[in-house]
C-alpha cells in the first residue's frame, strides 16, 4: 500500500510539472529553445540559417542590448535587433558548426509577473571555418550569463544579456 502511495505521489509530482508547468519552467524551456536556435550544424544551408536567425531575433525586444566579455576575445556590446542579426550572420560565416548549451538556469520572476531574469551558464563549442581562425580549429567557451526578460503580448522576450563574472579581477 505504501509503495502504491509513493508511486502515486511521484507520478503526481512529475505530472504536475509536465502538464502544468510553472512560469519559471516555461522560461527555462524558452531559454533552452533559444540555445538550440543559436546552434547550427555544418550541413545547415543558407535558407535554413536565415529562417533560424530571423526566428531567433524575434525572441528579442526591439530595444534589446547585449553586453558580453569573452575570454581572449575582449568585450563587445550590441544594441537593437539589427546589430544582433548581423552578429549572428557573422558567427555563421566564421564557424562551420556551433553547439550552444545552457546549464543551471536560475529564474527569478518579478512580483508583477511581467519581467524576470534568468541566470545561467552557457557553453559554446565551435568548429571554425576560415577567417580569423585556423581552419577546423575547435573552440570551447563557458561563460556565466544573466538574461533580462520581458513579457510582450503574452510571450517572453529577451531585453538584455550581460556577462556575470565568476571570478573577480
Amino acid at each position: 500500500m505504501a509503495a502504491v502511495l509513493l508511486a502515486l505521489g511521484v507520478g503526481g509530482w512529475w505530472g504536475r510539472s509536465a502538464w502544468f508547468p510553472s512560469e519559471a519552467d516555461r522560461i527555462r524551456h524558452f531559454m533552452e529553445s533559444l540555445a538550440a536556435e543559436v546552434s547550427f550544424g555544418p550541413d545547415d544551408g543558407g535558407i535554413a540559417t536565415g529562417r533560424r536567425i530571423t526566428r531567433l531575433v524575434n525572441h528579442f525586444t526591439p530595444d534589446a542590448s547585449i553586453q558580453m566579455e569573452i575570454l581572449g576575445a575582449g568585450s563587445f556590446q550590441l544594441s537593437g535587433r539589427g546589430e544582433i542579426q548581423q552578429t549572428l550572420w557573422g558567427a555563421r560565416r566564421a564557424a562551420q558548426q556551433l553547439a550552444v548549451h545552457f546549464y543551471d538556469i536560475v529564474v527569478e520572476l518579478a512580483p508583477d509577473g511581467e519581467s524576470s531574469t534568468a541566470h545561467l551558464t552557457a557553453t559554446a563549442e565551435a568548429r571554425a571555418a576560415t577567417r580569423g581562425f585556423r581552419r577546423n580549429q575547435e573552440l570551447f567557451e563557458a561563460v556565466e550569463l544573466r538574461f533580462g526578460l520581458r513579457r510582450v503580448d503574452g510571450a517572453w522576450k529577451v531585453q538584455w544579456v550581460e556577462t556575470v563574472p565568476t571570478l573577480k579581477q
Binding site: 546549464y103 551558464t121 565568476t166 571570478l167
Partner: protein, 163 residues
C-alpha cells in the same frame, strides 16, 4: 513483478535510506567531476575523472595550494583552479612570479615554461577581502588573457579536490 520482501514497510525504509545515503555521498561527501580543458596542466589532464569533497573542505578549511572547484550559476559546470592567495593577503603576479605579501611564492606544480604574466593589470597589488581567495590554473604557458583566473568568493568554492 516487483519483489518487495516479506515486510514492504521495511523495504520502503531501506529504499529511502539508500536514496538519502546516495544523495549525501554524491552531493556533500564526494562529488565526481570530469576535467575539461588545459588550464590545469600538467597535473590535471583533459578528460580525467576526479572527486571533490565539500564535506572535507568544511572540516579542514581551505589552504594555499588546494585545488578547488568553483561553481558557476549551479553545480553542473565548475571551474577547477588552485588557491594561491588567502583572505587578507596582498597578492600580485609580476613577470610570471606570484608574490604574496611581497614575498615570491614557490610553485612546484607549475611547469618551467611559464609566461611573464602581470596581474593586476594596473600594476599594483590586490588586497584580498575577508572571504576572498586568489585562484589560478597551473598552466601558465598560455597567454594571461586566454586563461581565466582571478578572485573567488568563499561562497562560490564548492570544495577541494581529494584525488
Amino acid at each position: 513483478m516487483i519483489a518487495v520482501g516479506r515486510n514492504p514497510r521495511l523495504t520502503l525504509v531501506r529504499l529511502l535510506a539508500l536514496v538519502v545515503l546516495t544523495v549525501v555521498t554524491f552531493r556533500v561527501a564526494f562529488v565526481p567531476v570530469r576535467v575539461t580543458g588545459i588550464s590545469m596542466l600538467p597535473g590535471y589532464k583533459d578528460g580525467e575523472r576526479r572527486w571533490i569533497s565539500p564535506l572535507l573542505t568544511r572540516i579542514q578549511g581551505l589552504r594555499r595550494g588546494d585545488v578547488v572547484a568553483i561553481r558557476t550559476s549551479g553545480r553542473r559546470l565548475l571551474y577547477l583552479k588552485r588557491i594561491i592567495g588567502l583572505p587578507g593577503e596582498r597578492v600580485r603576479i609580476l613577470q610570471g612570479q606570484v608574490q604574496v605579501d611581497g614575498n615570491p611564492l614557490a610553485e612546484s606544480y607549475v611547469a618551467p615554461d611559464r609566461l611573464k604574466w602581470n596581474w593586476p593589470t594596473h600594476g599594483t597589488e590586490r588586497v584580498l577581502g575577508p572571504a576572498e581567495y586568489l585562484v589560478i590554473g597551473d598552466n601558465r604557458s598560455m597567454p594571461a588573457d586566454a586563461h581565466y583566473f582571478g578572485v573567488a568568493d568563499r561562497e562560490r568554492i564548492l570544495g577541494k579536490l581529494v584525488r
